[in-house]
């Protein structure tokens, strides 16, 4: 799969044998994968598979028990400007006197102590960034009054304005309607390509990402299989990852991962049972219309 081409690709991100224990339970087991500049990657797995832990490790909010994380070839300090992050759900008070452009400006140096000197240059940078994420038309609106999709654009602008090498998105599609979700995915794919940064986006459903995803990092039970979609989303690879026979079905351009013992679609439960990889529908949201 991946890993052997580490030095060749000039990786933005490299996880090497990362293991994590939390409260005596192993959350990640020897996770290794790499991302190159321009990669648009999906971090795919069901709830509790370890996606959020992987993101926290990359941000340096959690120390791995074993292994190392390299961003741009360097170990991370706590204050790193090379990783941008957009959390899953932010609740911004609609009464907070903060415009979209103010939040984006905080992306430049919001962690710095000392008074801020406004300048034409700053304003221009903010305007350009808002333009880049199609948020210019609500630049002067209060962030708290924007819709979920609009807020997400503002948060993406906030994360990107400090020119990170890697953008992490935690479940950006979970709280959006299908159309806004697709717009965000297209926007991110465009940004990854244009700005030559790596985007790692976590999701429990890989289907909306299939048309634009360069790489998939598939997480199950704390272990990871990474590579291109065709390399990873295959019956043998995922069966090995789950440690249980699964079948990868392709129906109408969608991918379904189901238990290997019973491949009939009717048998796919609506809610995968936690901790049991026996039957796992990746298309939980869109699965009904297959």
């Amino acid at each position: 799969m991946s890993g052997d081409e580490t030095t060749l690709r000039g990786d933005v991100l490299a996880l090497e044998g990362v293991s994590v224990w939390l409260g005596g339970r192993q959350i990640l087991d020897e996770v290794s994968f790499t991302l190159a500049p321009g990669d648009f990657a999906g971090l795919i797995g069901s709830n509790g598979a370890g996606k959020t832990t992987i993101l926290r490790i990359i941000m340096g909010l959690q120390e791995p028990a074993e292994g190392k994380v390299l961003v741009d070839g360097r170990r991370l300090g706590r204050r790193n400007r090379s990783v941008g992050y957009v959390p899953q759900k932010v609740l911004i008070d609609p009464d907070a006197p903060l415009r979209a452009r103010d939040l984006v400006a905080l992306g430049l140096d919001g962690e710095r102590v000392g008074p801020r000197i406004p300048s034409r240059r700053r304003r221009q940078l903010v305007d350009e960034m808002l333009e880049a994420v199609d948020a210019a038309r609500f630049a002067d609106a209060r962030v708290g009054n924007l819709s979920g999709g609009e807020q997400q654009r503002v948060l993406i602008a906030h994360a990107l304005i400090s020119r990170p090498r890697l953008l992490l998105m935690d479940e950006p599609l979970a709280n959006l309607d299908i159309r806004s979700g697709q717009e965000i995915v297209d926007l991110l794919a465009r940004i990854a390509c244009e700005q030559h940064i790596a985007v790692l986006l976590s999701a429990h459903d890989m289907n909306p990402l299939l048309p634009v995803m360069d790489r998939v990092v598939y997480v199950a039970g704390g272990r990871v299989a990474a590579g291109t979609t065709n390399e990873v989303v295959r019956t043998e690879v995922l069966s090995k990852l789950y440690g249980h026979p699964v079948n990868v079905l392709r129906v109408d351009g969608r991918v379904l991962v189901v238990s290997g013992s019973d491949v009939s679609l009717e048998a796919v439960p609506r809610q995968p049972q936690p901790g049991r990889p026996a039957a796992e529908a990746t298309g939980r949201r869109g699965g009904g219309d297959v």
């Binding site: 990783v83 959390p87 415009r99 905080l106 919001g110 962690e111």
Partner: protein
């Protein structure tokens, strides 16, 4: 009312009206109004205790408000302060009443700690108030950006390497400092209204953080100046006027916002000349 014995009152009230809303802007933004209520209660207990053992009341004020705000920060769980704040508030009121019962102090002195007293301000108090006020403003200016970020989007602040808990503790210390500045003049129970009222009113009117702060200083100055004048004319306690004017300011700001939103809605509904309505 601009006689010599009133000049100190005008000066100190002006300093308080600048410091309280600047700190209060973040109190309102962070939803910590309850903390801003508890800390002045501690200041009251501290002042009563200090006067009991013959110390300068400002020292008692400072020690107790700092102690209360830092323990609220330390004992709060996962950034939530409500339970420990409530307990601290009643504990401080209880201690205040204990110190009062032991005290042989002339009662109006203590009364003025709770409800404010403009006539009794001496000129050496101005120096302390100005110094503490300047310290507060400098601290807010220094922490402005991390404070704003942790208040609005704490998850993102953490991801940027900001330690939210440290910012929280620093902010509580600033609240204690601002309280120490203001309690001798406007009183413990009423200090709180200057911290909350003007910023809450200002943010109904403007959307930009720095402009909100500036506007709330303006509202607070108007409130305090009008209160001194009214207290002088009527001989009613100044605390009543401060709270009443702060409340009126907040209500007016809401009416203004409501009217503006209504106007915008009507305009949006009207068909554009020569074109169809959106």
């Amino acid at each position: 009312m601009f006689a010599d014995y009133m000049v100190n009152a005008w000066d100190v009230a002006t300093i308080v009206a600048i410091v309280a809303p600047v700190v209060g802007f973040f109190v309102v933004l962070r939803g910590s109004a309850f903390v801003a209520h508890a800390v002045p209660e501690a200041a009251f207990a501290g002042a009563a205790g200090a006067s009991l053992i013959g110390l300068n009341t400002v020292v008692g004020l400072g020690v107790f408000s700092l102690g209360a705000s830092l323990s609220i920060g330390l004992l709060g769980r996962r950034g939530r302060h409500d339970v420990v704040t409530a307990l601290a508030l009643v504990l401080m009121l209880g201690m205040g009443s204990l110190f009062l019962s032991w005290s042989t102090e002339y009662a109006p002195e203590i009364y003025s700690l709770l409800f404010g007293e403009v006539l009794g301000v001496s000129s050496n108090e101005i120096g302390i108030t100005a110094l503490l006020g300047a310290l507060c403003l400098a601290a807010v200016a220094a922490l402005y950006r991390p404070l704003l970020l942790t208040s609005v989007v704490p998850e993102i602040a953490a991801a940027r390497g900001i330690r939210n808990h440290r910012i929280d503790m620093a902010f509580l210390a600033i609240v204690a400092l601002a309280t120490t500045t203001a309690v001798p003049v406007v009183g413990a129970l009423l200090m709180f209204s200057l911290m909350i009222g003007p910023p809450a009113a200002a943010r109904c009117i403007t959307d930009e953080p720095l402009r909100t702060m500036a506007l709330s200083v303006g509202i607070a100055l108007a409130t305090v100046w009008a209160s001194i004048a009214a207290a002088y004319q009527t001989d009613w306690p100044i605390g009543f006027f401060v709270t009443a004017f702060a409340f009126v300011g907040y209500a007016l700001a809401h009416v203004l916002r409501w009217a503006r939103e209504g106007y915008a809605r009507i305009r949006a509904r009207k068909p554009l000349p020569g074109g169809s309505a959106a």
